[in-house]
Structure formats: structure tokens, C-alpha cells
Amino acid sequence: MNAAIIATVLILVTLGAIAAVILYFVSQKFKVKEDPRLAAVTEALPSTNCGGCGLPGCNAFAEALVKADDLAPYHCPVGGNEVMKEVAEILGMEVEERDPYVAVVRCSGSFEARKQTSIYDGAANCTVATALYSGDHGCAYGCVGLGECVDACDFEAMYMDEKTGLPVVIEDKCTACNACVKACPKDILELWPVGRKSQRIYVACKSEEKSGVARQECSVACTGCAKCFDECKYDAVLVENNLATIDFEKCTLCAKCVVVCEANSLKADNVPDKTLEKLLERHKKKLEKEKAERRASKQSDTEDSPVTKTEKDAVR
């Protein structure tokens, strides 16, 4: 009886020992050489797996970073410059600082601004609604208001404003990961540089409708009247397809265009109200002056009118 137990134990121990030796050599032979920096880089990344870098998740990004010869094409929008600096230190490379970006909503068609023409009660998803029709209001370019962007946001940086029916970006939380931009079927969300003192000026409208139709559908629609274009000294405004667009690289944030817009389509984020008020006052004065000048020139016209009158009579 005892002999049988001893024999079994011995056989198993020997088998275990042989297996251990084989396994040791196999593991030496097939060892996966992992870059020791990979773990450090992965550790440094924010591990949000948002895909904002353009790669599927932080691990893939870390692998790409470790393999890269140059860090210039890579950027983690969530971690920003700090994380990229850390990564560069680990890899012993240099990285240039990039401007931080933020998502902006390029539609200001609130419930007040545009009439609701129908009721949508299908699946609560912007893309599905867009596949069915142009929306529960006249504007085919504007926000659908079903909050797909909010659902797409992993950082709780967006919410739907119940009063306006439009999404709002919480600037401090937005990491510019691009998820909302990809989610929006109407391309209303865009990534813009945060800008000096977090100030940004942009046209909060994407309607390419003709001016009359656009204004009928939405009271804050850009009609492409080009007043902002005339006002801008820096060539930052482009008017195309009945729509003005501001080039953020050229914009100097002077905000003069904001006050000339009669439809209030232009939005100035974080520009102090005082500055805008001052500009508006100046603009009003300028308008009055022009009006006065026009009246004066008209009067001078009427003074000249006897001549024209006689001319007209002569024609008759």
C-alpha cells in the first residue's frame, strides 16, 4: 500500500521536474522581446481609450509611439502637451508643443430661433432621424437635437440644453477627442483651437440655403450677406455657398464682425461683454453717420434736381 503511494508521488515529481526543465528552455527560446519603454509609455498615457489619437485605444497608441522615429505626427488630445512631453522624455525624443483644441457647436438654431414644423417620434438617434428626413424644423443643415454627440462623449463634457435644444460643450472637460465630431450626422461640431484667453469667434450656422429661405427657417441663420466679410481687415472671413466661415488661423479676435451681423449668427466665446458693447456702440454711431451722409447727399441731389427735371421733361 505504502509502496504504491510512494511510487505515485515519485513518478509525479519526476514528471513535474522534467516538464519544468522543458518549459524553461522553451520559454527561453520563444521569449517575446518587449520594449521596456512600452510599459512606461502606457503608464504615462491617460488610458481613456477614446480613440482621439486616431488609433484604437491607448495600448495601440503606445506601441505606435515606441516604434516611431519622429513624434511629430502623434498627439494625445486628452493628455495634451504635458503627457506628450513625458512620453518624449521616456523615449528620449523631442516633441513640439501643440495648441489645445476644443469642440464648438456651429448651430444656434434654438427652439426660439426656428419653428418646429413636425414631430419626430422615431428612434432617438440623430443619424437615424437624418436618414429619414431633414429634421423637425425647416433647416436641413441644423442640429437635429437628439443628442448623439452627448452620447458619444466619454468625458461628460457635453450636455443638451433643454431650453435651446442644442448641445453645449463644457470647455474645461472637453479633451478634443473628436468623438462628437464623428458622431454628428450634420457636421455641426468642429474642433477649434482654444485660442488666446480661450476666446473664439465663429459663425454658428452651417446653412447653405439661399438668404430668404434660410431666414424664413431660422431667425439666426447666416444668409451670406458678407457684412462680416466687408468688416474683416484680416481676410479671415470666407463667404461661399450663402455661408460665411471664419478661418481661425487668420482671425485676430478683434470681434468687429460679431457686432455687424444682423442675424446674430456669429458667436464670440469668452469675449467680454464690455468689449462687445463698446464695439456695438461704435458700429451704431458709424451707421448713423453713414445715414446722415446719405441724407445729405440726397438733399444735394434734390438741389440739383431742377436740371434733371428739365432733362426728364425734355425726354418726355
Binding site: 414644423t117 413636425s118 417620434d121 437615424v128 436618414a131 429619414l132 428626413y133 431633414s134
Partner: protein, 445 residues
């Protein structure tokens, strides 16, 4: 109807919605001319035609105002006489704005070549290619709903042999009665139309398929068919969506159209009853497709009717003629309750594809609360194409468009049986449509 188990029907899936054919007893009534019509140039599947009139031009009814571009496209004719107004994007039943030609009506002058009398022309002196040419010139498209240009269906590609023509008088959508009325009031014309189609296709056999809930039409057409050898009338067991081409061919001939294939792959061609009547008018009377029968119906509507309507007439005119919009209206739908589309605006014009206008009370339009998928498999049982709708919906919602294509989402004909049977009221078809739209765009680009 209760004892129709001996009748043929399709084998896979299908549902039984209540049929509500309220306007089945109402004769076709010609709607008075509207003040102006708005004719969208994009009324069919395929390339949009090229506009050949300008603002201020005077046009006659039946005159070409947009010429087809390419083979899969259709001519558009003016449906009234008058002066061309604005040519601008206008909201149509798709819910988006597309270019349309507005014509202010003045009098009712028709092109001289058009025969508008009711006399029956029985002789068909034309050759097959002449018939196809005439159908093409008249801008005839399928009037069952998809609006596929008919001349394309009549031109069978080389190497394919077609032996049977199927005339689709199934009208399986609840509420709609337009095809039913055409069969009752124009039986001889439909028969001659079928003969013309047979000649164009070179086939010797035609079957007129009618669902068993239209007994009067079955009897009348069977009697008339005695004068037309080669044309038979077949009653089918009532089941939705029997009006789908593939389902109809399977029900009648027992042949299954392969995935991604077309009916001519199995030797059959299907034309709708309304289309057959239009083909008769186009070939024998030179009359282009400028008017069609539209059912205006709904439970609260005062006078459910079948109107003969000029293309481009605003929907509101039809509803007004049927007694006005009832107070309890929740939705106005273009088409039937299963496949139709709710309109976002009542000024939307009637087009070649509009088979009905359905006014639904608010209590019936509200979507019920949705719950989680139970994996009960009812949608799979109901799908006539043998797809897995719940799975397609999940893939579509996850925007996994490539995967939906692998799962044959393009075979879906959007009959809505899955959403109809779902006990959790899930918007299955909404998501499937979305994924299909995405795929089609990708194909176009």
C-alpha cells in the same frame, strides 16, 4: 377568406395586419385641377432627368419638361397646361428638398397626339422595341412604390430567358385600394396592357395575381380573361408582404430569386396593375404618365376616396377633397401604413410613386415605449427575406456598416414586418434603413 388555405402564398415569414380597406367601394373620381402643380424631377430610381423648360415658358399637358439622362432614368411630363414658374428645391415626400418645377395652371390643353377618349384600342401593331421606346418616352415607372423605370424592366439583358409575366394586383398594404379600383374599372385596359408587356418581353404566359380579399376583382378579371388566352387570374392567400416581387414570384411559381439577383434571373418579370394600365395608355393612347390613381383614406376621414390625380398636386388638396383633415389627426402618411412615410409638410406634391395618402388618428400613431430585446426571434420568423432583423439592428446601431453588408442587409425590402411583430416595440426598421442608406451612399461615392 376564412377558407383560403388551399390557395398559394409565399413560404418564408410574413404577417397579417388588419386590412382596413375603407375606400374599396369608392369609384375612381377625377380630382379638380389644382391652381398650380409642383413637379419634382426626381420621381424615380436612377439618374435625375435634365430640365428642358425655363421660367415663363408656356406648356401643354403631356409635354416633356425634363428628359431622361442615361438608360435608368425617366422622362417627366407636364401634368397640366399653363406657365412655368419657379424652378427651385422643394420639400418632397423624402423629407428633403429636391429640384421641382412649378407650373401655374391655365385651362386644360393637351398635346394633340394624345388620345384622351375612353374607346378601347385592342390592336397592338407595334414591335417589341417600338413598345419599349414608347414606354420610355411616356416616362412610365413602376407604380407599386419603388418607381423603377418600366422600360428598363422590359429590356431583358442578353442571356436571360423570361417565360412568365406576373401582373401584381396583390396590393397587400392595408388601407390602399388604388390598384383594386383600377382592376375593377379598367379590366380590359389592364388585359391589353398585359398583352403589350407580353409582346415586349416575348413571353407567352401571364398571370394576374390578386389576394383573396378582393373577390370582386378576381371574379371580374377571371371573366374578362376568358377573352384573352395566355392570361390567367390567380387568387392568393392573404399575407403581407405578398406584393413584394420576390415573394410574389415564390408564391406563384415556386422559384426563389437569389440574394442580390433580379426576377429575370429566375425567368419572371413583375409589373404592377397600375403600371400595366399606364403602359396601355402610353402605347395605345400616346398618353404619358401624368396622372395616377391615389387612395386617400383614414379612419376619421369623412370621405375615404380614390382620386385620379395629376402629378404635382399638393397632398393637402387631396385631403381637403376627401373631407378635410380630421381634428384627431396625428400623422399623414404617403403610402400605406406598413411601408409608407410620414410627411413633414402637407404641401408635398403627389409623384409617380404615391399610391396613397393615409390620415392616421393621433391615438394610433404614437410609438409605444421600447424595451430591451428579448431574443424571442419573432422578427426572424416574420422576415420574408430570411434575415435576422434584431441582429441587423444591433449592428446598425453600433455603426458596424461593413458587417451589416455581410449579413445581407441589402436584401431587406423594408416591409416593416419585424417592427410590426416586435413585442418590445423596438425601432428595428429605422436602424436597418439607416444602415442601408449608409451603404448605398458608400456605393455611390
Amino acid at each position: 377568406m376564412l377558407f383560403d388555405n388551399h390557395l398559394k402564398t409565399f413560404s418564408k415569414g410574413g404577417v397579417h395586419p388588419a386590412d382596413h380597406k375603407l375606400s374599396a367601394g369608392e369609384g375612381i373620381e377625377e380630382l379638380p385641377l389644382p391652381r398650380s402643380v409642383t413637379i419634382p424631377i426626381y420621381q424615380h430610381i436612377g439618374a435625375p432627368p435634365k430640365i428642358v423648360v425655363e421660367r415663363g415658358d408656356t406648356v401643354k399637358a403631356g409635354q416633356v419638361i425634363a428628359i431622361h439622362e442615361g438608360f435608368v432614368s425617366a422622362n417627366i411630363h407636364s401634368s397640366v397646361s399653363g406657365k412655368v414658374g419657379k424652378i427651385d428645391p422643394v420639400m418632397d415626400s423624402s423629407g428633403y428638398k429636391h429640384i421641382a418645377i412649378n407650373i401655374r395652371v391655365k385651362g386644360d390643353d393637351w398635346e394633340e397626339t394624345i388620345d384622351r377618349t375612353d374607346t378601347l384600342v385592342t390592336d397592338i401593331p407595334y414591335t417589341a422595341s417600338e413598345i419599349v421606346e414608347k414606354v420610355m418616352q411616356a416616362g412610365v415607372v413602376g407604380q407599386g412604390g419603388a418607381a423603377f423605370p418600366s422600360h428598363v424592366k422590359l429590356s431583358v439583358p442578353k442571356g436571360k430567358v423570361v417565360d412568365t409575366l406576373v401582373i401584381n394586383g396583390v396590393e397587400c398594404e392595408p388601407y390602399l385600394t388604388a390598384d383594386h379600383r383600377v382592376m375593377l374599372e379598367k379590366p380590359h385596359e389592364v388585359m391589353i396592357g398585359a398583352q403589350i408587356l407580353m409582346k415586349a418581353l416575348g413571353v407567352s404566359k401571364a398571370i394576374i395575381a390578386i389576394e383573396n380579399n378582393k373577390q370582386d376583382a378576381i371574379q371580374l378579371l377571371s371573366t374578362v380573361a376568358q377573352g384573352f388566352p395566355n392570361i390567367t387570374v390567380e387568387a392568393l392567400k392573404v399575407q403581407y408582404p405578398q406584393g413584394g416581387e420576390r415573394q410574389l414570384i415564390e408564391a406563384l411559381l415556386g422559384r426563389e430569386v437569389p440574394s442580390g439577383g433580379l426576377p429575370h434571373d429566375v425567368g419572371a418579370i413583375v409589373h404592377n396593375v397600375g403600371t400595366t394600365y399606364s403602359v396601355y395608355l402610353a402605347v395605345q393612347k400616346n398618353q404619358p404618365l401624368v396622372q395616377r390613381v391615389v387612395t386617400v383614406t383614414g379612419k376619421s376621414l369623412k370621405k375615404p376616396s380614390n382620386f385620379l390625380v395629376r402629378m404635382g398636386t399638393p397632398v393637402i388638396d387631396l385631403v381637403t377633397a376627401a373631407g378635410g383633415i380630421p381634428e384627431d389627426t396625428g400623422k399623414v402618411i404617403s403610402g400605406g401604413p406598413m411601408m409608407g412615410k410620414a410627411l413633414a409638410d402637407l404641401k408635398v406634391p403627389i409623384t409617380k410613386a404615391t399610391s396613397g395618402i393615409l390620415v392616421i388618428p393621433e391615438a394610433e400613431t404614437k410609438r409605444a415605449e421600447t424595451y430591451q430585446c428579448l431574443r424571442c426571434g419573432k422578427c426572424i420568423e416574420a422576415c420574408p427575406m430570411g434575415l435576422e432583423p434584431y441582429h441587423l439592428m444591433l449592428l446598425a446601431r453600433g455603426k458596424n456598416t461593413d458587417k451589416t453588408k455581410e449579413e445581407n442587409i441589402l436584401d431587406c425590402m423594408e416591409c416593416g414586418s419585424c417592427s410590426f411583430v416586435c413585442p418590445s416595440n423596438r425601432p428595428i426598421l429605422d436602424y436597418i434603413r439607416f444602415s442601408k442608406a449608409k451603404l448605398k451612399k458608400a456605393v455611390k461615392e
